[in-house]
């Protein structure tokens, strides 16, 4: 019983984190039809920016009001979205719209390689530690177990992010326009939608979500080079399981991956590293396009 509860809680915490890092990926794919490998770098940039901002906040006398560091973290993600997002989308990706999906994977792979080294040039190779925000929320006691309060804040953040994305897409005018562009960008353009702006906006939103994932993770880890390499592959697994371009799919994918990883950590630690890909392979075997993907007619 205890073990099941532990697995569930661990799984939920991991799933919350997974959802935040992968929902931006699925959003960008849904709108731009680009599977963005550089999403992992954007995550890492978010983590570095957050570590720098929080560090600066405490250096400037933030001790008086430590909760302000959370604002600094979110600001860091916004900053990354405002700077890196338009740079990548306007400067490079827009030239590849409508090209082959696999080619676009390679373009973003190149961006990923470039950003990996740029980060080393900007932030150096030494690790950054910002533990203050992590300890700020105290501990939570569940039965005999203690959890760090911050972990639950991540779950809450995931729920807020998920609701915000879903509501924006389905309940606002902007969201309807985005859905129209996803459905048929040419037709939307003839109806007077500024498709380029929707693309830019969607990519910036995706960048923000990637950076937010990194920003929220920064206090839990030491921020070092190579952070993005593993994240991107895990995020791929989540969005592929859920079906590319589907927000509810990303949530289900995150839950499946999160809980199965937690189960393997507790029951079969040897399998921890491959369980994620194993789940992904199994899902793809039975649902070749993921759980929530729309089936498309084949063209003759």
């Amino acid at each position: 019983m205890d073990l099941a509860a532990t697995i569930l809680v661990d799984g939920l915490i991991y799933a919350g984190w997974l959802f935040i890092v992968s929902v931006g990926l699925t959003l960008v794919f849904g709108v731009l039809n680009i599977l963005n490998i550089a999403h992992g770098s954007l995550y890492a940039i978010g983590a570095y920016a957050s570590a720098s901002m929080v560090g600066a906040y405490f250096a400037l006398g933030g001790e008086a009001f430590p909760y302000g560091s959370y604002v600094a973290m979110i600001l860091a993600a916004v900053l990354v979205a405002l700077v890196v997002g338009p740079l990548l989308e306007r400067g490079l990706l827009r030239f590849f719209y409508g090209r082959d999906e696999v080619l676009n994977v390679l373009v973003t792979y190149a961006v990923f390689l470039i950003l990996e080294d740029l980060m080393k040039l900007i932030w150096g190779v030494n690790p950054y530690f910002v533990y203050e925000p992590y300890t700020l929320l105290g501990d939570v006691e569940i039965g005999p177990l203690f959890y760090v309060g911050y972990d639950f804040a991540v779950i809450a953040a995931a729920i807020i992010v998920g609701l915000a994305v879903w509501l924006t897409l389905n309940r606002t005018r902007v969201g309807k326009v985005v859905l129209a562009v996803i459905h048929d960008s040419e037709m939307s353009q003839t109806m007077g939608v500024n498709v380029q702006r929707i693309y830019l906006g969607a990519f910036m939103a995706g960048t923000f979500l990637a950076a937010l994932g990194g920003a929220l993770t920064a206090p839990m880890i030491s921020v070092t080079p190579g952070l993005g390499v593993n994240v991107i592959i895990v995020a791929f697994a989540v969005v592929i399981i859920g079906g590319l371009g589907s927000v509810p799919g990303a949530a289900i994918g995150a839950l499946m991956v999160g809980i199965s990883r937690a189960a393997s950590v507790h029951l079969m630690p040897e399998a921890e590293l491959f369980i994620i890909y194993f789940v992904m392979a199994i899902v793809l075997l039975f649902r070749p396009e993921g759980l929530f993907a729309k089936t498309q007619a084949r063209k003759i």
């Binding site: 082959d100 390689l113 084949r298």
Partner: protein, 312 residues
């Protein structure tokens, strides 16, 4: 036609083999590694002709390398011919198991499923401490039918061995590409449904391409392991597979020799940027990749501009 091919093969062999005399040690090692990796990429090119790109070819590269290493360390086998044969047999079996399964996937899903399979191998190997875990294993220098060269002679022998394999594999793949099934692969890329309606089995074609890719990957992995003297789970990591795809894209699917030229170019770019910009070689590689995609779309063959007329 066949005479021309034979002639081209002989010339390629002579030119490449001459490298064993001319090249300095470091370059010979680099070329041997590049050619070994080129074999893996040739497999990807074979699939690319059908419109699918495997992002998990590291699976077979790693499988071949580990098979050779484990056989060498457990049974004391050091003969390079036997090792190559064994690991390609293992990769053939694994490829035949996954091939039919993967043959119905296309585009991004084929790429991601193949990637998932290679990452399963990576994850398992990293956790298996009895075969070295993330540290990997060492493998002793190979012997050639009982002959056990050392130093420069070993390097030369290994290099000539790779060259011979590359030429044979290149010729065989060329013949396969021009065969009925090879041409069906091209037709599949253009219009899959039409091929089905004409009575050919697309799944069958895709399975063959995948299995050939698996065997080539295994051979490449074996040679790379023997040249390096060491294997580790990184062989199956997605960035390794990403480099193979990079070479395949750089080469395009129009010619077989271009695959090996592309592999050598990548190794050269990597070693020189490693030398001159030690901290930013990934940046250089990324810029190079972008430049290739933008400036050299013909190298992209099947993916960007479908070349009319002259079939690859």
């Amino acid at each position: 036609m066949r005479i021309n091919l034979l002639l081209a093969a002989i010339i390629a062999f002579v030119v490449l083999a001459a490298g064993s005399v001319i090249l300095p040690d470091w370059a010979m090692f680099l070329f041997a590694m590049a050619l070994a990796k080129g074999l893996v990429c040739l497999g990807i090119v074979g699939m690319m002709r059908g419109g699918v790109v495997s992002f998990g070819q590291g699976l077979y590269y790693c499988l071949g390398a580990y098979t050779a290493t484990l056989v060498a360390n457990t049974f004391g086998v050091s003969d390079i011919f036997l090792l190559t044969l064994l690991s390609s047999a293992v990769c053939l079996l694994v490829g035949m198991a996954f091939g039919p399964l993967l043959s119905s996937y296309r585009g991004i899903f084929f790429a991601m499923l193949s990637l998932a399979l290679s990452m399963v191998l990576y994850g398992s190997l990293s956790k298996m401490s009895f075969i070295g875990g993330t540290d990997g294993l060492n493998i002793a220098a190979p012997t050639f039918l009982g002959w056990a060269p050392e130093g420069r002679a070993l390097q030369m022998a290994l290099y000539i061995y790779v060259v011979a394999i590359v030429v044979i594999a290149g010729v065989l793949m060329r013949i396969y590409f021009d065969s009925e099934r090879g041409l069906l692969t091209l037709a599949t890329r253009d219009n899959e449904l039409r091929v089905e309606y004409l009575g050919a089995s697309v799944r069958n074609v895709m399975t063959y391409n995948y299995v050939f890719g698996a065997v080539l990957g295994g051979i490449g992995g074996t040679i790379a392991a023997l040249a390096l003297g060491h294997v580790d789970p990184e062989f199956a990591f997605w960035t390794t597979s990403g480099e193979f795809v990079f070479v395949a894209i750089l080469a395009g699917s129009l010619s077989v020799p271009s695959v090996f030229v592309a592999a050598i170019i990548l190794e050269l770019v990597r070693s020189f940027s490693n030398l001159y910009f030690p901290n930013t070689w990934q940046l250089a590689l990324g810029l190079f990749l972008l430049a290739v995609i933008i400036v050299l779309p013909k190298g992209l063959g099947s993916l960007v501009s479908r070349r009319k007329g002259n079939p690859a």
